[in-house]
Symmetry: C2
Subunit: 479 residues, 2 copies
């Protein structure tokens, strides 16, 4: 693992340089690495194990709502990409083009999918004929490519892993219900499984997905006060259906266009886990998503009986259904502690000769660094509850941090000053005019994150232009 060379000291403090801290954590916790392919990353075993846990849990939640998985080609013929006008305008500037197959130039160039609406539409136009064929609630797990200019591990890379759901419905109401349902699946998953509080809301027209009627989003606040869009769900109405000719015969024997949705969530979320929960010792993983939940570290492991006891603890906790490892390498306990902390493993158990004499061990929480002495025989009763408590506390801490970094403004000078001086989000009214969004971005670099579902008006004037306000908007600088 080339761990010898890793020095915990090499990590930058998050208060000194948050961006460098992020890069250091990603590298030292061995989540990703750079590659010879510019803008693309290797997801290393520890990073990929986090993604597998995300996939497993989210896929289970999808299937409980009737989602079926499929696989579509990774290529989109140029003519297919061009069928929906807004969609091609949004994506064409950032796709990778395949022009040659083997030694021959292609008759029509193919882009590597940046997202697969066009492929699903092309499939649905033949697969859907009757109301009996509806709804279609399909999803795929795959990688997509967007030719970004500047990239950062997990947050923005030229290739990333995600899931993309694509559904077709008989009515506009069914499509709207599915759009909201999947946003709620995302919100519940991110809050319950990743311990990250989110704000649910609707994107402004400027920020919505290329080709969508409405985009709903979950927005999370990172530790530095910036926003990360963490999952989106789009209602397409019948726009794509009309562009692709997806019609069905309803019970009334009339031809109708279907209504469609799509929704996606990506490896970006691993970036959110790092930036919401991490600290100056490294990663801090919520127990439910942690590949290893408990690390057993023997102290004076060469002493008689220590390794046996440590392994016994590991086996007992494993048998209780927990994800447990033992670090019985030749390293010093201090090095092992730092390594476990860097990797964000939620609970550490220290066990040495004196502990064994007393029939106890030390249990240390990664999130609070609190330590307690626990009877060895009680571990299988204590640890599961402790993991639940850590999961709960991490969510509450993240929520308290976010709520304390949420401001309001009714006056533009105050708005600009708050955005400029205080890390966090600002709630302010908006007239609905894109010009104000553009002006705010130019003046502050902040963008409209969403119009939250549960919003109450805080003024009747747009914070920017003073004209009558239509929506409360959450504004923030974003990743």
């Amino acid at each position: 693992m080339a761990r010898d060379k890793k020095m915990v000291e090499s990590i930058t403090s998050m208060d000194v340089d948050f961006a460098q801290w992020y890069t250091d954590v990603v590298k030292n916790a061995e989540l990703t690495d750079y590659t010879s392919v510019k803008g693309c990353m290797v997801i290393k075993p520890y990073g990929y194990a986090i993604w597998e846990n995300i996939q497993h849990e989210l896929d289970k939640r999808f299937k409980e709502t009737g989602v079926e998985n499929v696989y579509m080609p990774m290529f989109i013929p140029e003519s297919l990409l061009q069928k929906e006008k807004d969609h091609v305008e949004g994506f064409a500037p950032e796709v990778a083009w395949v022009t040659h197959g083997g030694l021959e130039p292609l008759q029509e160039r193919l882009c590597v999918r940046p997202t697969s609406e066009t492929l699903f539409c092309d499939f649905y136009k033949d697969a859907i004929q009757s109301y009996r064929d509806l709804p279609k609630v399909y999803n795929q797990w795959c990688s997509v490519v967007r030719w970004e200019k500047t990239t950062r591990p997990f947050l923005r890379s030229r290739e990333f892993l995600w899931q993309e759901g694509h559904t077709a419905h008989a009515t506009a109401e069914d499509a709207e219900a599915r759009t909201v349902q999947m946003l709620n699946v995302y919100a519940d998953f991110v809050e319950e499984f990743l311990a990250i509080p989110v704000i649910k809301g609707r994107k402004t027209d400027k920020e919505k997905f290329a080709g969508a009627e409405a985009t709903y989003t979950i927005e999370a606040m990172m530790h530095d006060g910036k926003a990360l869009q963490s999952g989106t769900s789009h209602n397409f109405g019948d726009g794509f259906a009309k562009a692709f000719g997806i019609q069905f015969t309803d019970k009334d024997n009339q031809l109708h266009y279907v209504n469609q949705t799509s929704w996606g969530l990506s490896t970006r979320l691993i970036g959110a886990i790092i930036m919401v929960h991490g600290d100056d010792e490294g990663l801090v993983l919520p127990p439910y998503v942690a590949p290893t939940q408990v690390m057993v570290i023997p102290i004076r492991q060469d002493s008689e009986g220590v390794l046996d006891k440590a392994n016994g603890i590991k086996d007992a906790l494993k048998a209780a259904g927990l994800r447990v490892k033992i670090d019985d390498s030749e390293k010093s306990p201090g090095w092992k502690f730092s390594d476990q902390e860097m990797r964000g493993i939620p609970v550490r158990i220290e066990i040495g000769p004196k502990d064994i004499e007393n029939g106890t061990c030390i249990v240390a929480r990664r999130d609070t660094h609190e330590k307690q002495t626990v009877a060895i025989d009680e571990l299988v009763n204590v640890i599961p509850g402790l993991l639940d408590a850590i999961q709960h506390d991490m969510f509450e801490r993240a929520k308290a941090h976010r709520d304390s970094s949420m401001y309001e403004a009714t006056d533009y000078e105050e708005f600009k000053k708050t955005i400029d001086e205080k890390p966090g989000f600002v709630r302010a009214m908006w007239c609905g005019d894109e010009a104000c969004e553009i002006k705010i971005k130019e003046d502050t670099t902040a963008t409209s994150r969403c119009m939250p579902f549960d919003a109450k008006n805080i003024s009747d004037k747009c914070v920017c232009c003073g004209k009558p306000a239509k929506h409360l908007v959450i504004w923030g600088k974003a990743y």
Copy 2:
């Protein structure tokens, strides 16, 4: 599902036209569909569910041997692909080339991975420094692209799903042991989980992987007597390590090159399941891999109590851990039977008013079409054992069919006649000279499938040229 239009009669008999029968099964069982992207397929929900079960079981078996999953970029810079001479010669003619990112031409073109040895090597050359970093036993689940001229669903398509394992070891012995270990994992998986008997052996130099020192394979016989290469495991020795400069400092403080392996298994295996087990009614799925193991079909479902009873049976079997569905659609029982048979669902339970009176139901096996009457209360005790029996019997039947289609030849005229007239494999001795392989292929279209591990010589002369024989080879026509 557009099932209305599906007619079971539309399927061609396998004895009339095996290739058309295959296409009909793939279409009517709703496994895949064609797309606007030439040579690429949609894997539909039922086909993808089979792949998910394969992935789940194989991934579990991998992890039991210490495999860790990772994700590498889907692109390979041309200069990287060219580093190992044999490898680039083998793959360059069939890769897809990306030449533009967004609106700009790329400085160096990138191929879409046909396989990822070069990317793993590029990663390992930095990640491996010391003997402590070894072994590396990494795997990824992804799609790969090979620009094939003629394509068929699952068997040969321009994009397919697979896993590719890539390992690095301190010694040649360790690499050889891992190569064989993974071949055995494949063989056990295919035999135990897919009920397909395989022959384990080594490929001739002509047939081995581009850049490998040795390729081991599992070869399966399809119902028509043709061979399907079902999984391969390669030992690279230190060839790639030398081309990429992957060296480590050993305990003796000396620099050594690592020894590497790779191994892959793909959606092709779904083609094998179809062609080994299928019949003129459609797909026949081994119970362990079947997305639905039991279909409950109510008879006269409008009669009072029938649907309740049928749902009760479904719930009881589900609670017993089986994958069960009920077909309570408006279709006739006859249509439902045909549909269940086309989809290869291993067990059908028929339950109507008369059965309910008697407290029994009809249990029908898909593989043998045998029916038995079973007390409803006994189903949870009877069905699990029945599924095991079906799994076992399907393997034994496939094995008996294969063994009865296995011939020997010591004389070239006899060899050609057997290959020509009898579907199946021919065991014959070979001198080791590629010229004889080429001649045999020209004369018969058969290729060397493998040199089986457990081979006993049947003659001391090459069946083709008559010179001294070195190896027993299994010959066959192949997909």
